[in-house]
Amino acid sequence: MTMSHLAPLPFGFEDLAPFVEKWARPTETGRNAIRWSASAEEFADFYATFMPRLASALERLDGVALDAMNEGEKTLFLLTAAFAEAAPHHELYGGSAEVPFSFAARRFVPAHGDTPSSAKAMR
């Protein structure tokens, strides 16, 4: 699955573009799959580039309502969401895709589905 259909990042965030294809995914399940397959080098590369830009990304996203993002902002949102979940693997887990000394993450079911607040629902 590629994310090549995502719109380009907003003006000023072009330097993050090389990470969109690898990391940006629309769902927690999708982000999990990428994270679980990432190497320590990939976590380190993503972190080295994104961490210095995190404040700018959050500032930009703080200026837009959750339901009013334009397409470029959505791409930035998904990339920042990926970083939100990937950063601890570099900062805390020594580049491991697994949480050290942990239960198998694949056995943990995100029962809220792809977005919080909606349980696995038939509606």
Binding site: A55, L58, F77, A84, P88, V99, F101, F108, S117, M122
Partner: protein, 416 residues
């Protein structure tokens, strides 16, 4: 931690009769090792099904999961051999029924998982086997080819109702024909201690579940103390300093305690994500919203309240003080059989307004989910160890008093 400038607690403070010092806890609950038989022995599990789970009030839903007329939740409760249908009727009331067609016993609402949410449009649910139609308030509305039954007393063939009551937006059921206590009486002072927090405003929910190969009490006990935090969570909560497990309270069959802490070595990314939430009046720490009996002196290092609600429910009330932006989180432990447990962990946040608030919630939720992965790593191993017969008892320290208390209550129910 010392807070010498704080005023002493007023003697007349409401609910102060619940408070226990460590010395009192030791005196009331003892300090001796406790037997692991209750975990190890399958015959005790069979007794628990009858004497605990069929007698006590069990939390099965929240009203915010069922906001609209016709919204329902099917919940499988193997511990009481029941498929439950919780549904909001046309009159707005939430009721619980056996999810069982009164024709021949089929499930009225089929489900493929332990829990399914849906909406009954037109205020009815229809059994897919032969098309019997029931109102969401229970009555049997229509039966195809009704005249071919000869006689059919439809008035007596509504869905079988289960006692259901709501406290603070938490929906509880009681499987007993006639519960020994109302939910309010069952919760007692716990209901007062935890009441008044705007639980329903925290409607952004991240919910995780897993099936653990362990007895349900191994999982419950693992989440019932703060003693494990510096070791188990050395990865996800590094450098957690000054953790203080305090304000012990005994509340009938329930009990509670408070986790204070001076914080941890916050990672650089966490500091920025947390900053988004802490800067917001909507998501920032709100100790003022805590019920008055929780963190009564409003200590700034309050993290969350850690209770056990008998038999299988925990509400960690944080009000944004512990994990950034998190209002509260809950655990529930559903026995599937003696050696298997469905664990449910749910993080509750207030709805994000901006895109930055939502990604910050993703980060906090991920950290907490990862900490849960560290917690659950111990449970199956502990159960193997206990079943092996290598130890006959557990050694419990002061911060593990919720376990000691829960075991006492279990024993009193089993003896009744």
């Amino acid at each position: 931690m010392n807070h010498p400038s704080e005023p002493p607690r007023e003697a007349g403070r409401p609910l102060s009769h619940l408070d226990r010092s460590v010395a009192q806890i030791r005196s009331e609950l003892g300090i001796d090792p406790v037997s692991v038989d209750g975990i190890r022995d399958p015959r005790i599990y069979a007794l628990e099904q009858e004497k605990i789970f069929r007698r006590t009030w069990l939390k099965v839903a929240t009203t915010s999961e069922l906001p609209e007329t016709g919204d329902y939740k099917v919940k499988e409760l193997p511990v009481v051999d029941t498929s439950l249908l919780v549904v909001r009727g046309k009159d707005g009331k939430v009721r619980a029924f056996h999810n069982v067609c009164t024709h021949r016993g089929n499930k009225v609402v089929p489900n493929a998982d332990f829990e399914t949410l849906g909406r009954a449009r037109a205020g009815v649910v229809t059994c897919r086997f032969h098309g019997w139609v029931f109102g969401t308030d229970g009555p049997l509305r229509s039966v195809p080819l009704e005249e071919a039954f000869g006689t059919l007393d439809k008035a007596c063939l509504g869905l079988r109702e289960i006692n259901c009551e709501v406290w603070q937006g938490f929906v509880f059921v009681n499987l007993a024909e006639e519960p020994e206590q109302t939910l309010a009486d069952y919760l007692g002072d716990f209901g007062t201690l935890f009441a008044g927090y705007p639980y329903e405003e925290a409607s952004t929910i991240f919910r995780y579940s897993t099936v653990l190969e362990c007895n349900w009490k191994v999982a419950l006990y693992a989440f019932s103390e703060g003693y494990h935090v510096p070791t188990i969570h050395a990865g996800s909560l590094p450098g957690f300093r000054g953790i203080e497990h305090a304000d012990f309270k005994l509340i009938g069959p329930h009990a509670s305690s408070t986790i204070y802490g001076a914080g941890m070595d916050t990672a650089a990314s966490t500091a920025q994500f947390a900053g988004v939430l802490h800067a917001s009046e909507h998501h920032g720490p709100r100790p003022d919203l805590l019920p008055p009996g929780i963190n009564p002196t409003r200590r700034p290092d309050f993290q969350f309240e850690l209770p056990n609600i008998f038999p299988n429910f925990i509400i960690h009330l944080a009000s944004g003080c512990g994990y950034p932006g998190m209002a509260y989180f809950t655990h529930q432990f559903w026995p599937l059989d003696h050696g298997r447990t469905l664990w449910e962990g749910i993080n509750y946040f207030r709805p994000a307004r901006t895109a930055a608030e939502r990604v910050a919630q993703f980060h906090v939720n991920a950290l907490h989910r990862n900490a849960w992965l560290e917690d659950t790593a111990t449970m199956e191993d502990s159960f193997v160890g206990i079943r092996s017969g290598a130890i006959d008892s557990m050694q419990l320290m002061d911060q593990e008093f919720l376990i000691r208390h829960a075991m006492r209550v279990q024993q009193s129910y089993l003896a009744a």
